[in-house]
Symmetry: C2
């Protein structure tokens, strides 16, 4: 079976490597070998062992009837969208690791794949090597999924872990993450939560069966988290994690990306370093969690190649995925219920006048301020109440 | 689509409940409703709402051409085997939660299902509600699976957690587990590791593609674990868990069920109470873990019903599973490498004469004995060396 890889960056080259390293076991599974015939990349690969596979025009791939599977690992919406669309229209199966593309064009590309009786798969777009898309589509199918809460960004999880364990400041851990290759030169997409936002949009689309626009999801990153916050967390036996939260309530789906304070009994509490994990609550299953390498060359390539195997086992058949292009109106984020942890230099009298009897947290080496937990209340109520205190230093949601 | 449930015990009644509770969402997924037409049970259900579905002869189900899916939740090898075989021969799809049946007859029943162009599914037989069979068969397919290590028995994990957290003795926690309904009156299958043994046999069969006989797996339960062992574990920042371990080495598969000392950085460390989790290491994926409710009425029924959904989406098609009846010869368990934690009243001089420079562990309120870690060595070597010490109190493997 002949395949093509579009984009020979980290993931794309990982896909070629995985197909090579596990050639035998993969061939045994699908009954024949997968051969990469083309690699689309505009860079110069003179002298590289893949040189003879390089093409610089995607039409060559689209026009070759031998090609059955196309891997898209270029990233970004364009030109990936144009290329993928043309591959599906040419009757080729596609798998992608590109969350930006899937979040925006997933429903449309799935519909096109269905019309052409091929498959559009994207296991690697969320959680890297962790199986989560296919488990949601074909394992947790007896349940109504009531919650998905994920640590879905390895960069920020590494940074939060490092800040928590080593007591370092945000800027220091960012520099460290960049030096280690865990954060990009421009880390905006990770540290502002944009990456996590796209991933939870995809997961919510999958479980709701409708299009969730990522722009509708209130998103905060980790740039406001300080070494002092970590001291409080530690004193409480808690950790701070960047979470992507999606909940089904009687009013519809409510979704948010933000740093949260987790207690030690939460399954996500012990998910450290660059690892990712996705916690799922089903109405009959109860709690489940999927844990693993959420990024990195080979783990992500492993998920892409697993899609290729699934495609190879289903050539000539579209595996239907319920994700309609109709936009899902998310429920008002202001109505989302939470407890809040607040740090302030206000006096206890003022705090209690606004929030009633609260649970205080004091940390020995942070003087002149106090921390407290509010009761559960909506975002709107918290907003309103917190305006009555003048000296709030920090607010972090509690889970 | 008409279905039948054989055995209306905890899981069987859970299946009927899940089909009822999530009737709408399940019908939406498969395009039609699943209706339970028969329930096979020899007990009297006079006055129960399911009374009119009860049949006491499995032939009624086998002979009814309307029945497409049969659920087997009776447990035990016979008569479940006879019934399931006849259902497959009659062209009906079967899903089971019965690990005893799957461990012994899985390969044969899969082969029969293939001949009859139907499916034999058993997601619920390992890990209860945790998706693990289908992820291994259709998600982690790009990898060579090099290790599966599971906490796959909820009863013993509850007991180990309770002993660890409350400092109780084995007999006390067993009594507590029985009172809470987490352990059966005859707890042998759980506490002696027989249940975990069958589950790791199934998982190893799935990844190796051959029949693993559970009788070949060295199996120790938790009956020898004491409150003193837990004190040592705590002092080391470790926990003791009953693990089912399956590793692929250059000499083949090596499998064992035994209590192990886990360090705090291991993903299974924080899996407490009745929860189960299965850690998987793939050669390109790296580490992954699947966590959730490993037992219980609704979680297990959730997995059975998910199989029914998968079957309903694939009526008229056999989804091939590689599990040949040829017996897999496991590699010599004596060659398995481990570190060992040993408690003894021997003198340090004697210990060092046998094991060299070891790492000692002393616990303040346990006097007159000492604990130590050996270096990594084969089981055979440890056996031989340990015979040279006369006063060993306990040995626990280290992971």
């Amino acid at each position: 079976m002949k395949a093509a890889v579009m984009g020979y960056g980290t993931i794309g080259s990982g896909v070629v490597e995985v197909l090579q390293v596990n050639r035998e076991s993969i061939a045994k599974r699908i009954g024949e070998e997968i051969e990469v015939k083309y690699i689309l990349d505009i860079r110069d690969f003179t002298g590289s062992p893949i040189q003879d596979k390089i093409v610089d025009n995607y039409k060559i791939i689209a026009d070759d009837p031998e090609i059955k599977i196309v891997v898209e690992t270029m990233g970004g919406v364009e030109p990936a969208y144009t290329f993928v669309k043309e591959m599906l229209e040419a009757g080729k199966h596609v798998t992608t690791s590109n969350k930006a593309l899937v979040a925006v064009k997933g429903a449309e590309l799935l519909q096109l794949a269905r019309e052409k009786n091929v498959n559009f798969m994207f296991e690697a777009s969320v959680g890297g090597g962790i199986p989560i898309i296919r488990p949601l589509l074909s394992c947790l199918t007896a349940d109504v999924i009531e919650e998905i809460t994920g640590i879905v960004n390895g960069t920020t999880n590494y940074m939060m872990t490092k800040m928590s364990q080593d007591g370092l400041a945000f800027d220091e851990v960012l520099k460290d993450a960049q030096e280690k290759g865990f954060a990009e030169k421009d880390p905006t997409a990770d540290i502002e939560g944009y990456d996590a936002c796209r991933k939870i949009a995809i997961l919510t689309s999958i479980v709701s069966g409708q299009q969730v626009d990522y722009e509708d999801i209130p998103t905060e990153g980790i740039t406001q988290i300080t070494a002092e916050d970590m001291k409080y967390a530690k004193a409480m036996g808690r950790v701070i994690k960047l979470l992507a939260v999606s909940k089904k309530t009687k009013d519809g789906y409510t979704v948010r990306v933000a740093p949260y304070l987790l207690k030690s009994s939460h399954p996500l509490y012990a998910v450290n370093d660059v690892f990712n994990a996705i916690f799922v609550h089903g109405n009959v299953l109860g709690d489940a969690m999927f844990y693993g390498s959420g990024a990195g060359k080979l783990p992500t390539a492993s998920a892409v190649v697993a899609d290729m195997v699934e495609i190879a086992k289903n050539v000539g058949k579209n595996l239907p995925v319920e994700w309609k292009p109709e936009k899902l109106i998310l429920s008002d984020p202001g109505k989302m219920q939470n407890r809040y942890f607040v740090r302030t230099t206000d006096q206890k009298e003022s705090i209690e006048a606004v929030f009633g009897n609260v649970e205080y947290v004091e940390v020995p080496d942070i003087s002149e301020e106090i921390g407290f937990f509010t009761d559960a209340m909506t975002e709107e109520t918290y907003e309103e109440k917190s305006k009555q205190l003048s000296k709030i230093v920090q607010m972090i949601r509690v889970i």
